[in-house]
C-alpha cells in the first residue's frame, strides 16, 4: 500500500448538488495534470458517473465481480480513452448494497492504492448505509453543497457524521454559485455558508449551463479543454488539492467584464 495515495470522499447532505459532476471533472483535471487517478462509483442506487464520463458502454465488470473474485481488478477498471491517466471503477448493481460491508470498501480502496495517486469516491447522499461504507474507506473528504438553506443544513449534518468517523481534513466546495443572485442577496453568500459549516473552502463552482450540455454528451468540461466558467473552477479546485495556491474567483467580478461577455458569446457560437 503506497501511503501517499489520497483517498477522497466526495459527499453531500442532499442529492443533486453536483457530487457526480465534481467527481468526473476533478478526476479528469487531476489526470490531465499527470496524476494517475481512479474514480470509484459508490452511489450504487443512482450510479451515473459512467454516464458523465462517457464510459457507460465500455463497462464489462464492476466492483461487485472484483469483490466476488470473479474477475481481476484491472479487468473491471475502465480506462478513459482520451485521458488514460483516469480510470473508472464502476459500481455493482444496487442489490450489492445489501451485502457490502465497510471492509469490502476498504479492500477495494486498498487494491486501488497501488496504482493510483488519487482515488475519488462518488458517495451516496446523506446518511444512507452506502455512505457509511464509503466513509470507512477514506481519510479525507470534500463536501459539496449549494448556496441554499436546506442544502447547507443537510451538509452540516454530514460534516458531523464525518467528524464522528474521524475523517479529516474535510473541505468545502460550493457549487452552482450565481453571482447576480448573491449580489442581490437572493442567495446565501459565501460567508453565510462558511460561517455555519466552518470548513476551509476548497473552491467555488459557478452555475454554468455548459455543465449540463457536457453532461448530456458524456464529455466532462475539463476533458475538452473548455474555458467556460465552471471548467476554470474545476481546474482551480484540482490545483488547490495538489497544494497550489490559486486565488478564489470573486463572484462579484464574474460575468460583468466585457471580456467575459465576449467569451460567453463566443462559446454559444461554438457549441
Amino acid at each position: 500500500m503506497t501511503s501517499d495515495t489520497r483517498v477522497i470522499l466526495i459527499c453531500s447532505g442532499k442529492g443533486g448538488v453536483g457530487k457526480t459532476t465534481l467527481t468526473a471533472n476533478l478526476g479528469i483535471s487531476l489526470a490531465s495534470k499527470g496524476c494517475p487517478t481512479a474514480v470509484l462509483d459508490a452511489d450504487f442506487g443512482l450510479r451515473n458517473l459512467d454516464l458523465l464520463l462517457g464510459l457507460e458502454n465500455r463497462i464489462v465488470y464492476t466492483a461487485q465481480e472484483v469483490l466476488e473474485e470473479n474477475c481481476r481488478l484491472d479487468q473491471a477498471l475502465v480506462k478513459h480513452k482520451q485521458q488514460p491517466n483516469l480510470s473508472l471503477l464502476p459500481a455493482g448493481n444496487p442489490r450489492m448494497l445489501e451485502w457490502l460491508k465497510p471492509e469490502d470498501m476498504q479492500k477495494i480502496v486498498e487494491m486501488l492504492n497501488d496504482q493510483f495517486q488519487y482515488v475519488l469516491i462518488d458517495c451516496p447522499a446523506g446518511v444512507e448505509d452506502g455512505f457509511k461504507n464509503a466513509v470507512s474507506a477514506s481519510k479525507e473528504a470534500i463536501i459539496v453543497t449549494n448556496p441554499e438553506v436546506s442544502a447547507v443544513r443537510d451538509a452540516d449534518r454530514v460534516i458531523g457524521l464525518l467528524n464522528t468517523h474521524g475523517v479529516k481534513p474535510v473541505q468545502l466546495v460550493l457549487n452552482r454559485v450565481r453571482p447576480k443572485m448573491m449580489q442581490s442577496q437572493e442567495m446565501l453568500s459565501i460567508d453565510d455558508v462558511t460561517d455555519i459549516l466552518a470548513l476551509p473552502l476548497l473552491g467555488l463552482v459557478l452555475e454554468d449551463e455548459q455543465v449540463i450540455v457536457s453532461t448530456n454528451r458524456g464529455e466532462p468540461l475539463t476533458l475538452v479543454g473548455s474555458n467556460s466558467p465552471a471548467a476554470r473552477c474545476y481546474s482551480n479546485i484540482a490545483s488547490r488539492l495538489q497544494g497550489e495556491e490559486v486565488p478564489l474567483i470573486d463572484p462579484a467580478k464574474e460575468g460583468s467584464s466585457l471580456k467575459d461577455k465576449f467569451r460567453r458569446l463566443m462559446q454559444t457560437k461554438i457549441f
Binding site: R153, D154, D156, R157, I159, G160, N163, I196, A198
Partner: protein, 213 residues
Amino acid sequence: MKKVLYFPTEKKESWQSFIELKVKELKRGLIEINSGNWQLKCRDIIYLKNLCERYNLTIVSINSYIPETIISANSLGFESSLELEFAEKSKRTFDNEIINSLQSPSTFFHQGTLRSGESLDVNEDLLILGDVNPGAIVSAGGNVMIWGRLLGIAHAGKHGNDHAKITALQLRPVQLRISNKIARGPKEKPEQGLAEEALIEEGVIVIKPAKNS
C-alpha cells in the same frame, strides 16, 4: 525564578515557530505559558510540553483567556486559569458566568460545535464551548450557556424551572424554550460581539444584553 512565555499577539503567523524561538532563548527552569487569545487543543499543549522538555523547561501553568485552552490544559493535568484582563469588553460580562460554571460540579460541559441533527440533553446546567447550529437542539434542567452562537433550538429549565436562563455570545436561535414557555427567535440580527441572555420576565421570554453577574 519563574519566567512567562507569551504567545504572539498578532494572529497572522502560526505560533509554533515563534514559540520555538522563544523557548530556545529561555533555557531550563520553570515557565508559565500565556496563550493570550490563541485557542490550544490538547495536541497543541502536548507539543508545547515536548518542546519545553527538550530545552529543560518545566511548565508550571498555562493561562489563556480562551476557555477551550483552559479545558485542554486542565484535562492534561496542567494548572491553568482563565485570564480576564485581555478579554474583549463585550465578552467579559459572560466570563464570570463561565468561570463560575467551570468550577461548579453541576455543570455539564460540551466542547465543540453541535451540527444539524445533533442534540444534547442534560439535567444539570449546560455549558457549550462552540456553536449550536441550525437544526441542532440542546436542552438542560438548569441554565444553558453557549460560548459561541446559538442558531438552533435551546431549552433551559426543561423540568419547569422558570428562573433558568439561556446565554450565548450570539443569540440568533430558531426557537427558544424556557421552562414551559416557547418563543420564536428574533428576526433582526443582534449586534456583533454582545453577549445576550434570554429569561422569563412577567410570564414571557425576553432577550437582553447579558448582565455582569
